[in-house]
Amino acid sequence: MRITSALAAAAVLALSAACGSGGSTGATGGGTASEAPAEPVKLNFLSLAWQKESIEANKALVDEWNKNNPTIQVTYVQGSWDNVNDQLVTQFEGGGAPDVIHNDSPALSGFATRGYLLDLKDKLPAELKSDIPQPAWDTVTFGAEGGVYGVPFLQESQVIIANKKLLDAAKVRVPTADNPWTWDEFAEVSKKLTKDGAFGVAWPMKSPVNKTLNLALNFNGTFFQTGADGKSTVKVGPEEKEVLQRIYNQIHVDKSADPKTLGMGTADPLPGFYKGEYAMLPVGVYLRQQVAEQAPEGFEWVTLPPLKGTSSNQGAVSQTLSVSADSKNPDEALKFISFFLNGPNQARLAKGDWLLPTSQKAATDPSITGAENGWDVATASVKNLVVAPFLKVNGYDEWKSKVATPVLQEYYAGKISLDDAAKRLVEEGNKVLERY
């Protein structure tokens, strides 16, 4: 018994999309204009901006576009990182997905496999393509044909935000981008800073997986191996165990990390950090924004460059803009994206979100390269970003939430041993990945 996609709505939508694209590809530009000049093309743009400055930057760019392009009107739709993927699945299935979709690269692989996203490979304007370096494009390239399913624009690297007074008092060497701390040195410093009831470091590990996996590349821990047939399996060997063990030791052996912060989300330890309860926070670069704006008067802080294992490599995850496969106006959508992500605009977005732009032009913008608020350190860390191996793993999301999140949470909480954790990550993980 064969049933073709039974969801009536999806079928209707697919039909209408087929008609729509059939009509407009014949005469792009000219066709749409002559049909109804009074009727502008309407695009929905789902944005996940959440920091105040970032929302302002996004909305300002949309307004600017709408003013200059009366024939292509973009509506800003506010989304949230918390539930965007659930929302998108529902919208893709039921119809009515936004034309331009803001998301991040780990989510794209699944959506691309299911055919929800438009392959932009042959549609990208040369200027946009050359402005963004190939490693960034690699984070959004999936499948045997090497389809490009989004335009990467903001990248996050892991740095260390530290309390300057405590660092100075402990007289530790302040690392530079050229001469960063090694993990050993970091452990030593953390121990030194642990005194008078204060801890050296806080590891907020409510969502431990991406963070752990990105840092694991410091010791070349890839966590996955992908065979020739595109199937991936989990591997947790000595390289993968390095970072796991080191973080664990800080919490349970050296006792230089505050165990209370383990269950916290990334931004939750900030109040304790301001009070001096812990001296260092290994976090994403974007958290600088909150520190810069919320820290109490007289609180001095510095951004320290990423740590070094056998290398300083970190997994790169980028925020992306994609076009829905069902969009009736993909070409217009791409035009909007090209405008939205050109060099100067990316600099504005990066500044608004306190992240690192992929655009090479934007990266030279003086507003995000100065020493103020650690921008110089943050921008310098771009050179350490490599494609995170898990981006290419089909089923990574399920492995992450069903297996890796509970296992890593339990491991860091000291409930299971490293060998148990490794065993479960591999065995239960491979069972999950088998189905993809």
């Binding site: 996609s5 039974a6 496999t113 299911r114 269950g263 939750d268 999140t405």
Partner: protein, 303 residues
């Protein structure tokens, strides 16, 4: 039918009997009520059951087909599935039992001739008026690690919703709180239906208040108790929104109730067939547990 058979003469002479005509009229009258039931309940239910035997999954223009019992066998071998069922049972049983005990206590209290009784009754119903999402958000503030009321009162420093040990008790407490008004109101209504003469007779015979409660109140309330606990159990076993707002099934799957699991299976991993199969399993489990429970209660009532 029976009417026509037993009274053939009258049928022949006067057309359809009043009884069968009445039945037809009844059907016509019920139609407006039946159509939405078939359209919105029976239809989706059958569609869901059919889906459980296919490999339906999320995707654009996906073709899917019959795959027999694959979904079910795979579920049986999935550790996360069993964990969700166990968590679901622990949650549903504890919430139902605790809600009943507290609800009964509150109902007995509100049935007494207290001052401000009317006001107190209104207060007891307040949680009922709150949507689950609001309840969830409210309790998130109660349990907040830094700014929460609970840590403030107890002087502790526990992140209730992130702690592997405390998270289940914490959400059970919230479940009890949000389920109490309904149970209390139903039990209170039941209490008011117990004839006062029975208590008077008990008093004359010298029964103390505990004996009166055991031998008069409880037996008289029994039908109400059976009804409300069964309803509560089904309701709790299928709870989704409260948990979703509060923990999303975390930490580490400790609060993944059956419905949260089904939701993730369908909308996160896009396996509609498997999620539908899970729905069927839940339906069977709930029906089985309820069946045994109701059957025992009926047998006791008849004995």
């Amino acid at each position: 039918m029976t009417a026509t058979a037993t009274r053939p003469v009258r049928t022949a002479s006067r057309g359809p009997s009043p009884a069968s005509r009445q039945r037809r009229e009844l059907l016509v009258l019920m139609l407006p009520a039946l159509v939405p039931v078939v359209l919105f309940s029976v239809g989706p239910l059958l569609y869901g059951i059919a889906l459980a035997f296919t490999d339906a999954r999320a995707g654009r223009n996906v073709e899917y087909g019959f795959n027999g019992l694959d979904n079910f066998t795979r579920l049986m071998g999935d550790g996360a599935f069993w964990q969700a069922m166990v968590t679901g049972l622990i949650w549903a049983v504890s919430v139902t039992v605790l809600t009943f005990l507290f609800g009964l206590g509150l109902a007995l209290l509100l049935n007494e001739n207290l001052r401000f009784r009317g006001f107190a009754r209104v207060l007891a119903v307040v949680p009922w008026a709150m949507p689950p999402v609001v309840i969830g958000l409210m309790w998130r503030m109660v349990y907040h690690a830094d700014a929460g009321i609970l840590n403030g009162i107890l002087g502790t420093d526990i992140d209730w919703l992130a702690d592997f040990t405390f998270v289940l008790p914490a959400i059970i407490l919230m479940g009890v709180w949000s389920g109490m008004p309904q149970t209390t109101v139903v039990l209170l209504a039941g209490l008011q239906n117990v004839p006062a003469e029975l208590y008077e007779a008990g008093k004359i015979d010298g029964a103390g208040s505990w004996q009166r409660f055991r031998n008069i109140t409880l037996p008289q309330l029994k039908p109400v108790i059976v009804a409300i606990t069964s309803l509560d159990f089904v309701w709790n076993f299928n709870q989704f929104s409260l948990i979703w707002v509060l923990t999303q099934g975390g930490p580490g799957g400790r609060t993944t109730l059956p419905m949260v699991f089904a939701y993730q299976e369908a909308f996160r991993y896009g396996r509609f067939g498997s999620a539908a199969a899970f729905g069927v399993v839940i339906m069977i489990v709930v029906l089985a547990i309820l069946g045994v429970y109701l059957w025992r209660q009926m047998r006791e009532a008849n004995a």
